[in-house]
Structure formats: structure tokens, C-alpha cells
């Protein structure tokens, strides 16, 4: 079990779980359309796309 910080607030989350799924499970109202637990991330609607930074020092606009 790991810890995820959302807007400064810490919650428990499984590191292996899909990020969108984890946030939705915590009751957060994130936008999404084409994701389904059975299908995984299709990437068609792009609403839940995020940028992943290496760490707090990463300024290369993430990836």
C-alpha cells in the first residue's frame, strides 16, 4: 500500500493500480470518457491525459 498526495491531502493507494481508477475510487470527480476497468486505458478521448514529471526538480515539461 502506498500514499498519494492530491491537492496536498494524503490518501492510501495501490501503486499498481491505474491512476484514474485510484482517484475515482477516492471519490474525486476527474473527467474521463473512454476508460473502463475491463478495457484499461484506450487513450481515445484524451480527457484524463496527464503529464508525468520525474520529480519536483523536473522542468523539462514532463513527458
Amino acid at each position: 500500500m502506498g500514499t498519494i498526495y492530491i491537492d496536498g491531502k494524503a490518501s492510501g493507494a495501490d501503486p499498481k493500480q491505474n491512476l484514474l481508477h485510484a482517484c475515482l475510487s477516492l471519490g474525486l470527480n476527474l473527467p474521463y470518457f473512454c476508460w473502463h476497468p475491463a478495457m484499461g486505458s484506450v487513450g481515445a478521448c484524451r480527457q484524463c491525459a496527464v503529464k508525468q514529471f520525474k520529480d519536483a526538480q523536473d522542468t523539462r515539461a514532463g513527458s
Partner: protein
């Protein structure tokens, strides 16, 4: 900040179209041609020039696979994985490339020399399997030919 040269090239494209939005893809390709990829800063600068939001531009940039929104290596290899190349030995070429370069599809070598990407049909099906290195087409591939190509990229 866009350079004067980049602005000039974008202006030329602008003269071909009735709207500013129409050149946004050309603009991103122009910036990419000069810098290798399109950064958040470039998205912002292009947006200012063409009066488009960064969100709109990013939505367009992320649709098109030839626009790189993260840095790429000095040489970009695009290996065709469509049906004719697949029949004629794509999997063997992929295995050879990933082994030789020590990276997986979508990754860049630690020395920043190569980025390896998949690409769809390159229109060279009678010479499959085929790939692009820095947009140059190479067909009739085999492991030896691939090695020669890699060595030629300094």
C-alpha cells in the same frame, strides 16, 4: 521565444491559408524542425502568434504522431509495423533493433543518440520490411543492413 527564422517560415505558410489556425500544425513542425521537439514553451509561443489557446494546440499536437511533445534523440528511427512488413519480418527487425540499441519501442538510448518509434505503412511494401531513419526511407531490411544504418548515424 520563437526565433526570427521560425517566425519567417510560419509567415510564409500563413500566406497560403485564410485562417491562422490552419497553420498551427505547420508551425509546430517548423519549430520541431529547428529544435527537435515541441516544448510547452513553444506551444505557448505558437499560441500567442496564432491566437490559439495552449489547450487547443496541445489537443491538436497530441493527435499527430509526427509531432514530438517530448525530447527525442539525435536520430529518430521509425520501424514500420503494418501488415506487409509484419509478414516479411518486422518482428525479427524489431528484436534486432531493441537488442542492438538496448531500448524498447518508444524509448531513447541513454547517450541520446537514437529514439526508436513504431510507424504505420511507409508505402514500400514490395521492399518490406522497411523503416525511416531521420525521415529517409530504407527497405529490404535485414539485421546486417540495420547495423550498417546505425553505424552511419553519428
Amino acid at each position: 521565444m520563437l526565433t526570427a527564422e521560425e517566425r519567417q517560415e510560419i509567415e510564409v505558410e500563413l500566406s497560403h491559408y485564410p485562417t491562422k489556425q490552419a497553420v498551427c500544425i505547420d508551425a509546430m513542425k517548423i519549430v520541431q524542425h529547428h529544435r527537435g521537439w515541441v516544448s510547452d514553451e513553444s506551444i505557448h509561443d505558437i499560441g500567442e502568434l496564432l491566437e490559439m489557446s495552449a489547450g487547443d494546440l496541445d489537443g491538436i499536437a497530441t493527435f499527430y504522431n509526427l509531432i514530438f511533445r517530448k525530447p527525442v534523440g539525435k536520430h529518430v528511427i521509425m520501424l514500420c509495423d503494418s501488415v506487409s512488413c509484419w509478414i516479411m519480418g518486422y518482428e525479427r527487425m524489431r528484436a534486432h533493433l531493441t537488442e542492438r540499441l538496448g531500448i524498447q519501442m518508444g524509448e531513447t538510448t541513454p547517450d541520446n543518440r537514437f529514439t526508436l518509434l513504431p510507424i504505420v505503412c511507409l508505402g514500400d511494401c514490395s521492399h518490406a520490411p522497411a523503416l525511416l531513419v531521420d525521415n529517409e526511407l530504407h527497405g529490404d531490411l535485414n539485421p546486417a543492413k540495420i547495423d550498417t544504418l546505425l553505424e552511419g548515424c553519428k
